[in-house]
Amino acid sequence: MKEKPIIELENVRKTYRMGEVNVNALCGINIKINRGEFVAIIGHSGSGKSTLMNMIGSLDLPTRGRIKLDGIDISSLPESQLAQLRGKKIGFVFQSFNLIPTLTAIENVMLPLMFKNVSEEERKERSEKMLARVGMQARMEHLPKELSGGEQQRVAIARALVVEPEVILADEPTGNIDYKSGLEIMKLFDRLHKEEKRTIIVVTHERFVAQYAERIIQLQDGTILKDGKAKGFDFNGIKQK
């Protein structure tokens, strides 16, 4: 029996209104992603990959089409239920880290658990464990501005992992950090995928990032140009760092 996909997009369209003109960011996307897959979504800027990422992460709703997250149709859910779903099933990692500047590393990691009504002690315990896992146990009490880009991103990954999400959604996770730190981040993702069988979706325009994935989806002008195995993927036009 075939397993139910964790993410399923059916003919998803997204149209933005920019002044007088309608811009089609996504024009009919169909994707199925199974549990435990490591997928890279690549494409030039303006290809619609960030929009797609917002759709998968339920941060934004499609204009048309259906999105199922773990079997639940999220295209028509009210914001409060979407928030709960996000908090439970998805761990976000952003290009600009998006840590809250006034909270320390550990407080940032504890934040998602607070919205899930986890007790203070448990929050602390789980966050400490998660920060140790990403190699940040020594800098838990630091504010984001006291950390390097790579360190901030590792805190952000700990924050994404702390709720034990079904899917890790990373939007250009190496975009704002140096190559060496970027490699470390990607190795961390690789380990999470191989050792813990986590589902990871990375949006990127960098070739070395995409090479860590096992499946690559290439977008162009809001449609899927290619969708296939990473091995032997034809990266024509994709930047190599």
Partner: protein, 401 residues
């Protein structure tokens, strides 16, 4: 969960202290002003109630003229109550004592100083000073009907610096050119209108000031009678005697309760106006909070997006901002109350040093009310920015720079 919202809300005070304090300043000035004014107003009310307690609540005063000018108005006018009026009042059931009072303002010389003071002429045989004013003798003796050029003086003349050199029993006063000896000093009422008076025998009063009739008649009712109905009976009998229609009386009958209420009403109106003006500053303070919260929401648009991305519901976001603005109001309120009450106390001290009896009231109700009010102002001012924050779309707020 609530304590978590609280912690998140309190962060702003740590990270934006200057802005927080400036916002709080706006609220605290308003609260301080309102608290000080209410405290003093209530203190004034309590002082007046206390005075009426001394003066007696079973008293009715009757004076010529329409009520709007009061007893002082009757002094200025030429109308007087007559002995005939008094004989009518005496026959009414429930009336215990009726006293015709003569009064005028005269030049009173003590040593080489002079003041213009209220001189009261009454007959000590008709009423003792305790029943008449509610005061007792604290030095010397009470005025007697057979006293010649003798006077009894009010508390302030003997114990406060109305005259640079306080007047003592045995001193000589010159009233309207005639020499009088002070035989007694009476206790304090707490109102300069009573405490600066000089009492002399009524017959002597008429021979000095060439007046007749009474600008004021004081009635004490018998025990067990309702003062208001006795006052109504007096009004009706006098009206019939003078052949007047109801409502067109040329005299006024007032019980001490009515007088007390009239004064309270006047103070109430003044207090409402003054506090109303002070309350405008609270409104301004509230606008300040609203402004600060708007800025805060704008600055933290991205932060709101992050929180939503990690599972915060609109309600969670709303609560954080709501509590934050409530705290701004509440802290402003606490400081305002402390400041306002200190201000009221300072005014009380200043007034006391000027011999004005004005007490600040430290009613827990004022304190509790002001606290609640400041929290409400804060949170109500925060409502619109809060709703705005809560409704932000996560994808859009994450893009916000």
């Amino acid at each position: 969960m609530f304590s978590d919202y609280f912690k998140l809300a309190l962060r702003t005070f740590r990270h934006k202290p200057t802005r927080s304090w400036l916002t709080i300043l706006g609220i605290f000035i308003g609260i301080a002003a309102v608290v000080a004014l209410i405290s003093l107003g209530q203190g004034m009310q309590e002082a007046i109630n206390q005075q009426f307690e001394i003066l007696g609540t079973d008293k009715i005063t009757i004076y010529p003229g329409a009520s709007s000018f009061g007893v002082l108005g009757s002094l200025l006018g030429s109308e007087r109550m007559s002995d005939h009026d008094i004989s009518i009042i005496k026959r009414i059931s429930g009336v215990n004592i009726v006293v015709g009072v003569a009064m005028t303002i005269a030049k009173v010389v003590s040593g080489d100083e002079h003041q213009y003071t209220m001189v009261i002429g009454y007959n000590p045989d008709e009423i003792n000073i305790k029943d008449f004013i509610g005061v007792t003798i604290i030095d010397g003796r009470e005025l007697r009907a057979n006293d010649g050029y003798k006077v009894m003086i009010g508390y302030s003349l003997g114990y406060e610096d109305i005259y640079e050199e306080p007047i003592e029993v045995g001193d000589t006063l010159e009233i309207s050119g005639k020499s009088f000896t002070v035989v007694g000093i009476v206790s304090e009422v707490g109102n300069p209108g009573y405490d600066n008076r000089i009492y002399i025998n009524r017959d002597l009063f008429y021979s000095i000031f060439t007046q007749e009739g009474y600008p004021l008649v004081v009635v004490r009712t018998k025990e067990g009678y309702d003062t208001t109905s006795v006052a109504d009976a007096i009004k009706e009998k006098l009206r019939k005697d003078r052949n007047l229609e109801e409502g067109s009386e040329n005299f006024t009958v007032m019980t001490s309760q009515q007088l007390q209420k009239m004064i309270s009403d006047i103070i109430g109106v003044i207090q409402t106006i003054v506090i109303g003006i002070a309350a405008i500053s609270l409104l301004v303070g509230g606008t300040g909070i609203m402004n600060t919260m708007y800025t805060s929401v704008l600055e933290r648009t991205r932060e709101i997006g992050i929180m939503k991305a990690v599972g915060a519901k609109n309600f969670d976001i709303g609560m954080v901002f709501f509590i934050e603005s409530g705290i701004l109001g509440l802290v402003g309120g606490v400081i305002g109350i402390v400041f306002g009450l200190s201000m009221a106390y300072a005014v009380e001290l200043a007034a006391t040093s000027l011999d004005i009896s004005l007490k600040a009231s430290f009613d827990p109700l004022i304190i509790g009310g002001a606290l609640l009010f400041s929290f409400i102002i804060g949170s109500v001012s925060g409502i619109i920015p809060t709703l705005q924050a809560a409704k932000l779309k996560p994808a859009e707020s994450l893009r916000y720079e």
